[in-house]
């Protein structure tokens, strides 16, 4: 059996633009999202949330609410069953927010749950919640790091202790001071909310005093199971979390939030299944957000545009308890060949809930700063934006000295430029007019890391030529069901319609959630490992079977590809897995395996130090490869100089992301990434009132996400790329990549159109008009 493959496994169905296997169930309504599931006896929970952002509850009058028909209970901090532990008492709490509301009379952010009504219908629970009269002793809240009362501090560690708040490579300040070109600028990113179509929802079903099933809108059922086990003091195996379909998450369903445990505790209190879905307004204060933040970037280059230093600082708002902030610096560290780099994070506590990862956390705002500044320097030096990027092309990862496992960025640049017609770009800003409108062309680089991950899968191959493949992964709606069906089909040599792929249940083998772009690469690897287990078993059966063409062969001499076993030295001699299984008389055969993605896969298959035989450079450390996907965005904007409106008129994205599992779903995901980035660039902004620390536009009429009319045809291509180091199939995740660099590409195009640099997202018409009032 050959496991130490040096090239990616052969494919048949993988890569094909297969229609979504869950499409018919979704369009006919047969697919049930978490809030649509009901079990007998289900009752409805509704949260009452705080009107103030800071203070104490002095009384809660539930008398009017309790008189409403159908009310089963009204829970407050005074009568809610206590969890075994609060998140702050859990040793290694796995979610962003460590604060659990409704444990005492404290209020620490606007929209914090203060009561939970359970009633026989949703409508009755909703109305009763409105009738609860909560009185508060309010204090003046802190609304953000801009608040005069706020104090910036060095958090030492960010992201639950995973990253340092200060990182230095080389001697960045000195290098900047001595640089021929010194560019310094500050970038502002508004508060953004994930705003998936499906709101967060929990259905909690106690099946006994110590047995719990939770139907949750979860991007990671294992995470939800573990967090519940921690809070309830129960063994994980007694808790089942199920998520069959997700209507978008973008990160907000990949962490653990108060509504889930509150619903579970409510179900315990009433001894009935309780279902609770956040309202759209509650989605703005229930599941995190992308924090308000400001970045200052000092960029030093040589006279010919080669980077010599990047000095980056970020200031951002965080909650009263946690030091979460996106790690913007990491893309600045690795994207180009820059010898000196530093980043510093400063946070200030405010009366807001903990922010959380939102699609391309860190990379999206970080690349906005980097790619905008680089565009400025290019313009200052009279260099084409593509040329300055090529001059700074990183042949290895300067953040750690490692060679790339694969990188196709030059091909992305070239193909993107060709598709876009970049050579026709007018270099001088403000020269390209279309009637009254100013036309601009901009580009930016995209990149996203391959985060190391692992997971398990189970494959059960039936003698009738069907198979069930299982992994406790999730499908955000991006196509996990479909692409894993394709991977399974090739692993077993079956048609995709013969495969049933099951996910979204902690009863299934443990797999990573959908987040950090790890799901596709990891689950595909897990399925291959499980399939290998099946191969091994069937090969053993075949070599012992007189009727098999492989009779008496050594298993080590047998190879399996696309469901067919054959002698490595005589490929003609062989048969299919199913043929051997049928002859054996066994109705089915099962295998399982653990698959790795990223560094873990490389270490297992290549060894830690034998990374790259061609790597003899001194500055490159041993210890494997640096793993990233790369891409390039090109866009055209029309700016109305009188009205300040910006419209995107053309978009091209070309990406190198390893093996593409399904051209249709992958293309859709990259289009979605561009749209998500365009939203952040041009319109997405949640306003938090400075006096009340409360949002003033917490609904989808007030929080603008792009509509169809905002989006032109988006051309997406993938360049062929093979990467043997990351997993069997050479798959790199693409969930985040498509969004990275989008805001910068838009800003760069606006600069090209107007000669004005907009550094404050979103770039709304008021800001464009203000910029146009200033001299170019």
């Amino acid at each position: 059996m050959e496991t130490n493959q040096t090239k990616n496994a052969p494919t048949n169905v993988v890569g094909k633009p297969l229609d979504r296997v869950d499409g018919p169930a979704k369009v006919t309504g047969a697919a049930r999202y978490s809030a649509e599931i009901s079990v007998p006896g289900t009752v409805y929970g509704v949260l009452k949330t705080s009107t103030i952002a800071k203070g104490r509850i002095t009384s809660i009058d539930t008398s009017r609410a309790a008189k409403e028909p159908g009310i089963i209970t009204i829970l407050t901090h005074e009568n809610l069953p206590k969890p075994a532990k609060t998140p702050q008492q859990v040793e290694k709490w796995r979610a962003a927010q460590s604060y659990l509301p409704m444990q005492d009379a404290q209020v620490q952010y606007a929209g914090q749950p203060v009561a939970l009504v359970v009633a026989d219908t949703l409508e009755r629970a909703t109305q009763a919640a409105a009738l609860i009269n909560v009185t508060y002793q309010a204090e003046a809240p802190i609304d953000s790091f801009h608040d005069p009362k706020a104090e910036l501090f060095d958090p030492q560690k960010i992201q639950q202790g995973k990253k340092d708040s200060h990182v230095v490579r080389g001697n960045p300040q000195q290098a900047f001071d001595g640089a021929a070109i010194r560019h310094e600028a500050t970038y502002v990113h508004a508060i953004n909310h994930h705003s998936p179509m499906e709101p967060a929802a929990t259905l909690a079903v106690w099946e006994g005093a110590d047995k719990l099933t939770v139907y949750e809108s979860s991007q990671n059922v294992t995470m939800h199971q573990g967090a519940l086990a921690d809070l309830l003091g129960m063994p994980r195996e007694q808790i089942r979390v199920v998520t069959k379909y997700i209507g978008g998450g973008f990160g907000c369903k990949g962490s653990f939030w108060p509504h889930t445990i509150l619903t579970v505790l409510a179900a315990k209190a009433v001894n009935r299944p309780v279902k609770l879905a956040l309202t759209r307004q509650q989605m703005f204060t229930g599941v995190g957000h992308r924090e308000d933040q400001e970045q200052t970037l000092k960029m030093g280059t040589t006279a010919d545009g080669k980077l010599v230093s990047l000095v980056h600082t970020k200031r951002a708002t965080t909650s009263p308890w946690d030091n979460y902030t996106e790690s913007n610096g990491k893309i600045l560290d690795m994207l180009y060949a820059c010898p000196n780099y530093s980043t510093t994070y400063e946070l200030a506590r405010a009366n807001v809930m903990t922010s959380v990862w939102m699609r391309a956390p860190g990379e999206a705002p970080g690349s906005f700063a980097l790619e905008s500044s680089l565009d400025d320097v290019a313009n200052q030096l009279g260099l084409d934006p593509l040329e300055i990027r090529l001059r700074n092309y990183a042949d290895y990862d300067h953040s750690n000295g490692k060679p790339w496992s694969s990188k196709s960025l030059k091909q992305c640049y070239a193909r993107g430029a060709e598709l876009f017609g970049w050579d026709k770009r007018q270099a001088k800003p403000g020269q390209n007019r279309r009637g009254r409108l100013l036309v601009g062309h901009g580009m930016a680089t995209a990149s996203y890391p391959v985060h190391s991950s692992q997971g398990t899968a189970r494959v059960r191959l039936f003698a009738d030529g069907h198979a069930v493949v299982e992994a406790g992964a999730t499908d955000l709606g991006t196509g996990t069901y479909t692409v894993m069906t394709q991977v399974s089909a090739d692993a077993l040599g079956l048609a995709p319609e013969k495969i049933r792929f099951e996910l979204g249940d902690t009863r299934l083998p443990t797999a990573p959630g959908s987040g950090g772009s790890v799901a596709a690469g990891t689950v595909a690897s897990s399925i291959m490992a499980a399939a290998e287990d099946v191969w091994d078993k069937v090969v053993k059966m075949a070599v012992a079977d007189k009727k098999s063409p492989l009779y008496k062969a050594k298993p080590a001499d047998v190879k399996v590809e696309l469901g067919r076993m054959f002698l490595t030295k005589d490929p003609q001699k062989g048969e299919t897995l199913v043929a051997a299984l049928v002859r054996s008389g066994q109705p089915d055969i099962e295998g399982s395996g653990t698959g790795k993605y990223g560094a873990g896969y490389e270490e297992k298959n290549f060894g830690q130090n034998g990374a790259d035989p061609n790597n003899d450079s001194k500055e490159k450390k041993t210890g494997g490869h640096s793993m990233h996907s790369f891409g390039a965005h090109f866009c055209e904007v029309e700016v109305d100089p009188d009205l300040g409106t910006v419209r995107i008129t053309r978009w091209v994205g070309v990406h190198g992301a390893g093996t593409v599992l399904n051209l249709k779903t992958a293309t859709s995901q990259m289009i979605g990434g561009a749209i998500y980035g365009i939203g952040a660039a041009l319109m997405e902004e949640t306003h938090r009132d400075a006096s009340f620390a409360r949002y003033t536009n917490a609904d989808l009429a007030g929080y603008h996400i792009p509509v169809n009319a905002d989006i032109p045809e988006i051309k997406v291509e993938f360049v062929p790329e093979s990467d043997p180091y990351i997993n069997y199939l050479g798959v790199k995740g693409i969930g985040e990549l498509g969004m990275v660099g989008v805001a910068a590409a838009v800003g760069n195009a606006i600069f090209n159109a107007t000669g004005r640099r907009l550094r404050h997202l979103p770039i709304t018409p008021d800001k464009v008009l203000e910029a146009l009032r200033q001299p170019a």
Binding site: T645, H687, S691, T696, A709, D766, L769
Partner: protein, 327 residues
């Protein structure tokens, strides 16, 4: 949303009488604003009187102009050939508003009576003089980027009517027909229908408790036929105007004989500008004349920190609209 009783009125008089008898009742047509506000507990009505089966329908040309039944749907009116041909600004204002789903549901009368999108009004956790008189207006110092710069008071700066249709109707001198519980009808020019906030921002129109808006009549004029509605917003569709302009011009012999100008998104009510019209009439259309008119229209503006941009944006919107309609 509180519990309420539902009553489907068969006759106008039944509807208006029921409303007179119950101060807490509300008429419901499309419900696209009302139900939202009830779900937010911003409005609490113990009775909804469904007026959808009442005979206030039809789009027809009369001697006084185009008469539109208040229960017609936005999409039907926006696409009606008589409207498209004779009142392009009205058609455009309807079709640039909301989303297709909302336009199919929302009535003309309901649109004219829609309420502000001010975030402080729509969230009962905030004080708001319009919602709860005397509690204060956090928008004055807070998030007022979308709010008004014309017609404001220290009590309220909300764009009390945030929509589009009434801006076009205001420019074109539309007249509203109101019917009360006695069955008596009265006609009110739309320019006198909306009230400035002053110290009573809760009182938004001259509509009496028992009155139902039953029809809109738009005089047929040359300027109405040569009219245009221009709307500016960061999102191309399904967004309220940051600024908008409804204009109509009658040009004869190279001279502007009549001008109709109203602005949206900038006033506490749809903002008719006689000052701008005065600058236009009698002059030959030119960018300079349009610019002078736009400056006159915004002369009384009281911008604040986050909506100061609206002065220039509204001026430019008006200049653009006039240039396009004159072209």
């Amino acid at each position: 949303m509180n519990n309420f009783s539902y009553y489907q009125a068969d006759k106008a008089k039944d509807a208006t009488s029921a409303k007179r008898a119950d101060k807490s009742a509300a008429f419901i047509a499309g419900g696209t604003t009302l139900l939202d506000l009830m779900k937010l507990n911003v409005e609490n009505h113990d009775q909804l009187i469904d007026v959808n089966t009442l005979p206030f329908r039809g789009v027809e040309m009369t001697k006084n102009g185009l008469r539109i039944g208040a229960l017609e749907r936005m999409s039907d009116v926006g696409e009606h050939p008589l409207v498209v041909k004779n009142f392009p600004a009205v058609s455009q204002s309807l079709l640039l508003a909301a989303s297709a789903q909302l336009r199919n549901m929302a009535s003309i009368g309901g649109n004219i009576l829609q309420r502000t999108r001010c975030g402080y009004f729509r969230d009962t956790a905030f004080p708001c003089n319009k919602r709860e008189p005397g509690t204060g207006c956090p928008a004055l110092e807070g998030d007022h980027r979308n709010l008004a710069i014309l017609g404001t008071s220290e009590a309220c700066i909300a764009t009390s009517y945030p929509g589009d249709l009434s801006v076009a109707l205001t420019a074109l001198d539309a007249v509203l027909t109101l019917e009360n519980a006695k069955g008596k009808q009265r006609e009110v020019p739309i320019t006198r229908f909306y009230l400035l906030p002053g110290s009573t921002p809760q009182k938004e129109t001259v509509l009496e408790d028992d009155e139902l808006l039953v029809a809109v009549t738009i005089p047929q004029t040359v300027a109405a036929q040569k009219s245009l509605y221009l709307k500016v917003r960061e999102r191309t569709s399904y967004a309220y105007a940051l600024a908008s302009a409804a204009v109509g011009l009658e040009v004869q012999g190279g001279i502007i004989r009549a001008a109709k100008v109203a602005l949206g998104g900038v006033g506490t009510q749809p903002w008719r500008s006689p000052e701008a019209e005065k600058m236009l009439v009698g002059k030959a259309p030119s960018e300079a004349v349009f610019r002078a008119a736009a400056e006159a229209a915004l002369r009384g503006a009281k911008p604040r920190e986050h909506n100061a941009f609206k002065v220039e944006m509204a001026q430019n919107t008006l200049v653009r609209a006039l240039s396009e309609v004159a072209a």
